[in-house]
């Protein structure tokens, strides 16, 4: 597994956990009385979590990979190849395309709920959900391309 591939795997795990947290919290809110102002805190939490978790886990992954390379090679200053070549860029682009398509569909569906008379809270909740699902599916697609090729 290349360094970039490992980063994608870390991103996938991170956003899957955030998606799971979001779904649990939204379900709890809906069962507790429906969507209202109480979702604002959840949205803020998810956005901040996404940013902070990505940064922290990327740093931890960097440190973890370095430690693993030191143990594996016995070298005090192992060379970690974190460069991005044409294949990495192409895979990243394909993954981003998938994420954009999923996110666009999710956005349209969210707007459709509002157009059909649902509350704006439902629309914004679906917007956040589609963003998270788009990120997860984009990362899954990237890993599939890394493993199976194209």
């Amino acid at each position: 597994m290349s360094y970039k591939e490992k980063n994608v795997a870390v991103s996938l795990v991170t956003f899957t956990l955030i998606l799971g947290f979001y779904l649990v919290q939204v379900t709890r809110i809906v069962r507790g009385g429906g969507l209202s102002d109480n979702v604002f805190g959840l949205w803020a939490t998810v956005v901040v979590l996404g940013i902070i978790a990505t940064i922290i886990l990327t740093i931890i992954a960097h440190i973890g990979f370095a430690i693993f390379e030191v143990i594996r090679t016995g070298d005090d200053d192992p060379k970690i190849d974190d460069s991005e070549d044409e294949r990495d860029k192409l895979i990243d682009l394909r993954g981003t395309q998938v994420a954009y398509i999923v996110s666009s569909i999710g956005t349209l569906l969210a707007m459709l709920t509002f157009a059909l008379g649902r509350s704006p809270y439902v629309m914004f909740s679906l917007l956040i959900l589609s963003g998270l699902v788009a990120q997860v599916l984009g990362d899954i697609f990237r890993l599939v391309l890394y493993r199976r090729g194209f």
């Binding site: 044409e86 294949r87 090729g149």
Partner: protein, 75 residues
């Protein structure tokens, strides 16, 4: 997705060139070792520029390094 329609002799050429490793070839052409692995196993078709760089490393024409079989092309 899956197998590329362009096959290559990179593994054989590496062996004939002082048993060059994938890492050495990757360093010479400016890509990662994983990309060389993907090219050798036909999981990735390199760009034209990368294909020429690889051929240059082996001092061989492009057709000796890469080959394309039209029978494999569904178009």
């Amino acid at each position: 997705m899956g197998k590329s329609r362009i096959s290559n002799n990179i593994r054989k050429l590496r062996f004939y060139h002082d048993e060059m490793t994938q890492e050495q070839l990757a360093a010479k052409v400016g890509v990662t070792r994983q990309t060389i692995i993907a090219i050798e196993s036909a999981k990735y078709s390199p760009s034209l520029e990368l294909a020429f760089r690889i051929a240059l490393v082996f001092d061989s024409p492009l057709e000796e390094v890469f080959s394309y079989d039209p029978k494999d092309d569904p178009i």
